[in-house]
Amino acid sequence: MKTDITKMLQKKRKQILEDWMTNQLEDEGLREDLMSNEELREQSNELLDALLKALTAENVADAQSEDFEMVHEILSGISISRARQGFSPRETGIFVFSLKDALLKNLQSDLKDDPAALVDAIIQINKLMDNLGVVTFETFIKGREEVILRQTDEITEISTPVIRVWDGILALPIIGTLDSARTQVVMENLLQEIVASGSTIAILDISGVPAVDSLVAQHLIKTVAATRLMGAECIISGIRPEIAQTVVHLGIDLSTIVTKASLASALKYAFTMLKLEVKKVQNKAAL
C-alpha cells in the first residue's frame, strides 16, 4: 500500500509541480519584486526533485530519516537566501506549505476510492511536510540572526573613530549608547592613539549619546581618569541640555572633569591649554 504513495507521487511529478506553482502564484503574498516567476519555478523544481528522489516506501513515515538530508540542505539554502533577500516569514512559510497542498490534492484524486489509504497517506505526508516547515523556519531565523550579528559587528567597528583634529589634540565622537563593552573599546582606542600620536589633550564628544545614566557617567569618568593617568588631559564636550538635567538630577559629580557644551568650545579651550591662538588674517587688498 505504502509503495503506492511514493510511486504515485513520483509518477505525477509534473502535475504536482504545476499545482504547486499555481498555488504559489495565486497567493496574495507573492513577491514578484524580490524574485521572478522563472526563478521561483526553478527553486520549486529543484526542491520537488530532491524530495521525490529521497522519498521511499520506508522513509515516508520517518521525517527524521537521513535520506532527507539533501532535501534539508536545499531547503536551508533557499530559506537562508530568502531571509537575506528580505522575504517575510509568512512568505517563506507559504513556499513550503503550498507544496503540501499540491501533494495532498494529487493524493486525493488518486486515492478517491480508498478512504482508509487516503487518510493514512495524508497523515504521513502531513508529518513529513510539517517537518520540512520546521526546518525552513529554523534556517530562516538563523539567516536573519546572522544578518543582525553582522550589523552589530559593523556598528561597533565604525562607531569609535579617534580623530586627530590638531597637533596634540585628539577628538573622539561617541555615537550610540555607551555600555561596558563599548567603553572598553573606546578607552583602549583612545589610549592607544594618545600614545601613538603623543597627544596631550583628548576631547570626548558625547553629543551622539542618546541618554546618560549613572552607569554611562561612571564609564565616562573612568575614561577620563585613565587618560589622566597616561598624562593627557580629557575634556568632555557635547553636553546637551537634557544630559545636563539628568546628570544633575541623578546627583552625578562631574566637577572634577572639564566639560564643555560644544566641540567648538572644547577645541578653543584646548588651544588655550596648548598656548595656541587662532587669528584672522588681515586682507592686504582691503587695507
Binding site: 583602549e188 603623543g198 573612568k222 598624562g231
Partner: protein
C-alpha cells in the same frame, strides 16, 4: 639583591623601571627614593614606567605613596610613559594616583616638573646660575 637605580639630575631624581617590579623591589624603591629626596634635597621625582606591563593594586599603592611622601618633603612626583593597559587596570582597580602628576613621555614629564618647580622659586635659582 636587586635595586632600582636612582639617578640625580640637578634638582630632580630620575627613576627608570626597566623590569617588572615584585613587591620587595617596590618597597625598597619607596624607601630608597624617600631617603634620596632627603639627602639630595631634590625638588622633583620623575618615574618612567614605560617598560612596565603588569601592575597590581600593591604597585599602584606604592606609586601613590611615593607621590604623597615626596609631596610632604616638598618634591613633586611625575609618572611618565604609562602603557594604556596599565592605565586601564589601575582605573579598574579604583586607583587614580592622586597626588601624582602624569605625563606622556620623559620629555613632557621634565617640562612639567620644571614648570611646577619653576613657578615656586624661579628667580633665586636663575640669579644663582648667572653668577656661577
Amino acid at each position: 639583591m636587586d635595586r632600582i637605580p636612582i639617578l640625580r639630575m640637578g634638582k630632580f631624581l630620575l627613576v627608570t623601571i626597566q623590569i617588572d617590579l615584585y613587591d620587595r623591589l617596590a618597597t625598597n624603591l619607596e624607601s630608597d627614593l624617600v631617603n634620596m629626596v632627603n639627602k639630595t634635597e631634590a625638588r622633583g621625582v620623575l618615574i618612567d614606567i614605560s617598560a612596565l606591563s603588569i601592575v597590581d593594586s600593591f604597585m599602584g599603592r606604592i606609586l601613590g605613596n611615593i607621590g604623597s611622601m615626596s609631596k610632604i618633603m616638598d618634591a613633586e612626583t611625575v609618572v611618565v610613559g604609562m602603557q594604556p593597559a596599565v592605565a586601564i587596570t589601575l582605573i579598574e582597580l579604583g586607583l587614580e594616583l592622586k597626588g601624582v602628576h602624569t605625563a606622556l613621555n620623559v620629555e613632557k614629564g621634565m617640562e612639567l616638573l620644571k614648570e611646577k618647580i619653576g613657578s615656586s622659586e624661579e628667580e633665586p635659582d636663575a640669579d644663582e646660575d648667572s653668577i656661577d
